[in-house]
């Protein structure tokens, strides 16, 4: 009974940590979702821009001593600019209906950003200031990381802002219009390109926050984080249902806690296998993900 109680605490603890950590996956997932929703295309370079944003904010931080809030803002802005550049380089001038070329170009973008970071830092892991890492609340048998809580709330806030922008502002209206019927939207005199580029920038903002959050939560930045984060982000996007923001959020939090539980019971070598298996289960039983809607066109 006693050790059962203990186990219970440990498991719920792991779930909790994973849940909080999942918010970083969620943000990456949202980024993929936004761009997919707007253009029906996959921007593989997205997670890379996120991390790159965090890197550039770190550079700023090292040059002049600024507060952590600034770091987040800088990271967001840098990543937004990068996002826009990625749009220009990999999407803007490629024929709209040529998805393969765009996908490939964004892969090239990923390689470039990744190697660029390596070039600038020699691939060395860099210390990232973790905000109030001392704040570690002991709630009964549980321990809650203050910074992860903070990360989680930042995630919630930015998502809230995003949803507001998307459903309450003209930009959001345009984005959604373009997403649903780009021809019609064009006829209504909207410029696809400007809408798309704003979408990339907005997604970039979010990515920058995600990048800074991940870096803050881990405490370091290193190029080896990029690929795993990309893959997790994609998995989250699909489980959430391509194009669904709430789906991406819930999937992110879910995957986060799920992998922690697997880690707790089955260990590191099986963790990712189970996550992948989870994806397969979704594809078989819910091919359109949590909130994905079946698009039927004839």
């Amino acid at each position: 009974m006693d050790d059962f109680w203990f186990e219970f605490v440990e498991i719920t603890q792991s779930v909790g940590d994973g849940f909080l950590f999942g918010s970083t996956y969620a943000l990456i997932g949202i980024g993929f979702t936004l761009i997919f929703g707007a253009m029906g295309k996959l921007n593989i370079a997205y997670a890379a821009t996120a991390i790159a944003g965090a890197y550039s904010s770190l550079a700023v931080f090292m040059l002049f001593d600024v507060s952590l809030v600034i770091i987040f803002i800088v990271s967001a802005i840098c990543s937004a600019i990068l996002g826009y550049l990625v749009y220009l380089a990999c999407f803007r001038f490629i024929p709209v209906h040529n998805h393969l070329a765009a996908l490939m170009a964004s892969v090239g973008g990923l390689f470039f950003i990744d190697e660029g970071i390596v070039h600038a830092t020699r691939g060395s892991p860099l210390n990232f200031p973790s905000m109030f890492s001392e704040a570690y609340f002991e709630v009964g048998p549980y321990g809650i990381r203050g910074d992860l809580l903070f990360v989680f709330f930042i995630g919630l806030i930015s998502t809230g802002v995003l949803l507001y922008v998307l459903f309450r502002t003209r930009l959001g209206l345009a984005t959604r219009a373009v997403a649903q019927q780009d021809v019609a939207a064009r006829l209504c005199g909207m410029s696809i390109h400007s809408t798309n580029s704003t979408t990339f920038a907005v997604a970039g903002l979010l990515g920058g926050i995600a990048g800074a959050m991940t870096a803050a939560a881990v405490g370091i930045l290193s190029p080896v984080m990029m690929l795993p984060l990309t893959i997790k982000g994609l998995i989250v996007t699909v489980i959430g249902g391509l194009g669904s923001i709430p789906g991406a959020i819930i999937a992110g939090l879910f995957v986060g806690s799920f992998e922690n539980v697997v880690m707790y019971f089955r260990g590191i070598d099986e963790r990712d296998m189970y996550v992948v298996a989870l994806l397969f289960i979704f594809l078989v039983f819910r091919p359109n993900g949590l909130f994905g809607k079946t698009i039927t066109r004839d």
Partner: protein, 431 residues
């Protein structure tokens, strides 16, 4: 702590600049020197996450060879002397196929008598597999090219081929000594636990086959998941340990270590092993700091005894003890360290080995008495290889290195360093 980081960063950039200069100046010099020159070709990871390995090794190798040439180069078979020449230092990006490509390139398109690479144990393993296994085995069409490596540290790699030589520390002895010393120094420390990254062969095997057993050998008690088979001998209970402790291991690219740290904290060990490269070691150490794990001793993997660890987590790594094959403790080491950092690299256990290798090549060349002409390349390589195999000892940067020609392995002196106030300090010198 950040402040220190800043200074470091600025220093990097400066040094990088100087490095470029140094290299551009050094190359034509090496080329122009004399009509005959003893050619060597180096390679390592100069792109990808492990870039620093390649950059440091190149800086060390080039500066050491510059020094040798400044002192008159090497003696050839006919008594004349010629400079050593680095044909080029290629980027293998830590990829198997690129390493093999460079090896074949070196062997077939250059007059280099020895290849000096490469970063990443897996790549070396592949590369060594391409070499001829046994000398003079006509039925074996493997490449016949001596390789002298500074970085392929995974245990027992050189035995793959008789053409393969390494100058890496003997980790079995190194950790055995380490724990013997820790035992005597810290009678209070009884229990230990720890984890490693399972996707990196070197970290994984060294942790589960060598480090843990060494700790057990010297009377520390493993309080991790119970492994009855665990014993004092190398590899004893390795597979069982790997299976049992998998819930406190991680991957190099991981971002979340909460479960692993919590499990280890729960076991409340006096000593914690973090057998991992800086990328994940830092993440893990930071998580330990957050969860306020209070261990008495912190022991790391030799690969983490590098500048990267300090860049990544200076404060979290405070107190981390690591055995390493290099520290600026002898006059030679100090001067070498200065020269290499002027050339834009850092001297750590790997790049220091690269430096020593330059001198090892000098010794072997002079022993082999090669003629260093373009039509004697094949026999020069063979002579060089035999000479290298016959060398039983050299003077390393921090003390004599004994070599075993049969296995191609070295047994190097080592010291124990610890992160004290954000710097590596030598805390014990068993030599």
């Amino acid at each position: 702590m950040i402040r220190k980081g800043v200074e470091k960063m600025n220093k990097f950039t400066k040094l990088a600049g100087i490095a470029v200069l140094a290299v551009t100046v050094a190359m034509p010099l090496a080329a122009s020197a004399g009509d005959r020159s003893v050619k060597v070709l180096g390679w390592g990871a100069k792109s990808g996450p492990l870039k620093s390995f390649g950059v440091n090794s190149e800086a060390a190798l080039r500066s050491a060879i510059a020094q040798i040439n400044a002192a008159g180069g090497v003696k050839l078979g006919d008594g004349s002397s010629a400079p050593l020449e680095v044909v080029s230092y290629e980027d293998s990006a830590c990829k198997k196929d690129q390493n093999i490509a460079i090896l074949r390139k070196t062997a077939s398109t250059t007059d280099a008598i020895v290849g000096m690479g490469a970063t990443c144990s897996g790549s070396c393993q592949a590369m060594f597999g391409v070499l001829q296994k046994k000398i003079g085995d006509a039925s074996d069409s493997g490449v016949q090219m001596p390789i002298l490596s500074d970085t392929c540290i995974r245990p027992g790699l050189a035995k793959i081929s008789e053409w393969a030589f390494r100058n890496v520390p003997n980790e079995v002895a190194m950790y055995d000594q380490l724990f013997a010393w820790l035992r005597s120094e810290n009678p209070g420390v009884k229990t230990f636990s720890g984890g490693t990254e399972t996707d990196q062969g070197h970290s994984f095997i060294t942790h589960t086959a060598i480090i843990v057993q060494a700790a057990v050998r010297h009377g520390f008690e493993w309080v991790g998941p119970s492994v009855p088979e665990l014993g004092p001998d190398v590899k004893q209970g390795m597979k069982e340990l790997q299976a049992a402790a998998k819930t406190q291991h991680w991957l190099m690219g991981d971002t979340n270590y909460s479960v692993q740290v919590r499990k280890i904290k729960k076991q409340d060990p006096d000593m914690i092993l973090v057998s991992s490269h800086p990328f994940s070691a830092c993440g893990f150490l930071k998580e330990m700091k957050r969860q306020k794990v209070n261990q008495k001793l912190l022991v790391g993997l030799t690969s983490s005894a590098s500048q990267e660890t300090l860049n990544g987590c200076m404060s979290a790594a405070e107190g981390l003890i690591i055995p390493t094959g290099f520290a600026p403790i002898t006059p030679e080491a100090v001067s070498a360290n200065e020269i290499v950092s002027k050339a834009g690299g850092f001297l750590d256990l790997h790049s220091a080995a690269a430096w020593e290798n330059a001198y090892l090549v000098k010794t072997a060349v002079e022993k082999a008495g090669i003629s260093a002409t373009s039509d004697t390349v094949a026999e020069d390589r063979r002579k060089f290889r035999d000479a290298l195999a016959s060398i039983s000892g050299t003077a390393g940067l921090i003390g004599p290195v004994t070599r075993d020609g049969a296995t191609g392995e070295a047994s190097k002196p080592y010291v124990y360093v610890q992160v004290v106030n954000g710097e590596w300090k030598v805390i014990h010198d068993p030599r």
